[in-house]
C-alpha cells in the first residue's frame, strides 16, 4: 500500500471497480474500434472526411488502419463490383475475430443506383454485415452515428467464447 494520505475508504477513493469480465472486455472492444480503410468509391471520401479535422473520428477510439490484421471493423464504403468481390472476402477473412462490418451507403447495402451487370447487389452477398447505413453518400455524422450504434451492439454482446464467429456460409 502506498504511504500517502489518501483515504481510500471514502467515496470513489478506492481505485477498484467491481464489474464483470463481459463489461470490461466489451468496454475495451467498443471504444477501440480500429477500422480497416475500405474506401471503394464516393462514400470512401466521406469516410475520410469523418476521420479528418472537423468530424474527428479519434474521439470514438476509431482509428483507420491499413492492415486487416490490425483492425476489427470493416467499413465497406462504396460500390462493390463483381471484379472486386473476391478481394473483400479475402480481406474479411484476414481480420481477426471478433470483427464487425458496417455497410456504408446505398451501393454497399443493395447495389443502390448501380443496378447493372458489374455491381454486386449488396455486400451481404459476400460477407456478413452488422450494420447497414443508408444514404448516397451518407454524411460523416451518419457514419459516426453508425459507429455509436455498433458500440451499443458490441456492449450488448457476450464477450467470451459464447460468441460464435460470424460467417455467411
Amino acid at each position: 500500500m502506498a504511504q500517502h494520505q489518501v483515504n481510500y475508504t471514502q467515496d470513489n477513493g478506492l481505485p477498484v471497480a467491481l464489474t464483470t469480465i463481459d463489461k470490461v472486455v466489451n468496454w475495451g472492444r467498443s471504444n477501440s474500434l480500429w477500422a480497416l480503410t475500405y474506401g471503394l468509391a464516393c462514400c470512401g471520401i466521406e469516410m475520410m472526411a469523418s476521420g479528418a479535422s472537423r468530424y474527428d473520428f479519434d474521439r470514438y477510439g476509431t482509428i483507420f488502419r491499413s492492415s486487416p490484421r490490425q483492425s476489427e471493423l470493416m467499413i465497406v464504403a462504396g460500390t462493390l463490383t463483381k471484379k472486386h468481390a473476391e478481394f473483400i472476402k479475402r480481406l474479411y477473412d484476414q481480420m481477426a475475430e471478433p470483427r464487425w462490418v458496417i455497410s456504408m451507403g446505398s451501393c454497399a447495402n443493395t447495389g443502390g443506383m448501380f443496378n447493372t451487370y458489374a455491381t454486386v447487389q449488396g455486400v451481404d452477398r459476400v460477407i456478413p454485415v452488422d450494420l447497414y447505413l443508408p444514404g448516397c453518400a451518407p454524411r460523416p455524422e451518419t457514419l459516426q452515428y453508425a459507429v455509436m450504434m455498433l458500440q451499443k451492439k458490441i456492449r450488448a454482446e457476450k464477450a467470451g467464447k459464447a460468441q460464435r464467429p460470424k460467417r455467411l456460409l
Binding site: K82, T116, A118
Partner: protein, 269 residues
Amino acid sequence: MRAYKPKDDVQKKSYYTDRYWVAPMVPKSMVEDDAVFAADLAAIKAKFDVSDAYIQVEQMVVYIKPEDNVGVLKLMKEELGYTQLSEMSAIDWIAKQGQFEIFYQMLSMGKRKRIRVKCFIDQNQAIESVNPLFRSADWSEREMFDMFGVKVNNHPYMKRILMPDDWEGYPLLKTYPLQGDEFAAWYEVDRIYGKEARAIIGPEIRDSARVDRYDTERFSRLGFEVPMGAEPKAVDAEETPLAYQEEGGVFMIDKFEDDKTEIISDRKR
C-alpha cells in the same frame, strides 16, 4: 400473349412514339465553311479515300476506310499537327447493319480544332492498332475490346481491362442486357463460394422498387427498429426514442447529456 421484344437490341426504348414524329437533325455544315478544316480535309483526301465529311457542332467528322486508319492518323499527327488522340471507341450498329462504327477523336492544340475520324468495320473484322502513334490508344483499344469484343491487330496486350479476365460477354453490345446475363448474375458467388452456394445465397434482388415486410426488422421504419430475428413491432407500438447510449450509462464512460451541449450556429471561420 407477351409482346415480342427483339433480342438483337435490348436497349431501353421509348414506350410511346407518335407515328408521324420525325426526328430532327443536328445541323451539319459544309467543310468548306471552315478554312482550317477544309485544308486538313484536302490533305487527307490527297492520299486516302474519304467517303463523307462534314462539320457538326464545331467539329469535323471524316469517314475513312477501316484499313486506312493508321495511315490517316499518322498523316494527321505528323503533318497536320493533331497531337492528341483524346478518345476512341466503337458504336454498335450490328442490329441495323451488322457493323461496328469506330471513332477516333483527335485534338490539335496548335489549331485548337477537333476532328472525329470514323470508319465502319464488319462484326468479325479486326482493326489495326494505332498504339505506335498514340500511346493513349493502348488502353482505349483494350477498353473497346473489353466492351464490344472488337479485336485489334498488333496490340501489345490485348486483354480485358475493366471487366475481370474470366468474364463472359461484351457489356456494351446492344444484345447484352443492362442487368447482365446469367453468368454475370452469379459471378461473385461462383467465384468465391462455388456454384453449390447458389441455392443458399439466392438470386440477386434487382427490383429497385421491392418492399419487403421484413425490412421493418432492419431499417425502413425509423424509431421502430427491433433486433434481427425478432418479430416486427406493431404499427401502434411505442416508438423507441433515439438514444446514443444505453439506459443507465456505460461502464467507465460519462453519460451524454443533451442539455449540457452547445449548438454552434456560426461556423467560426
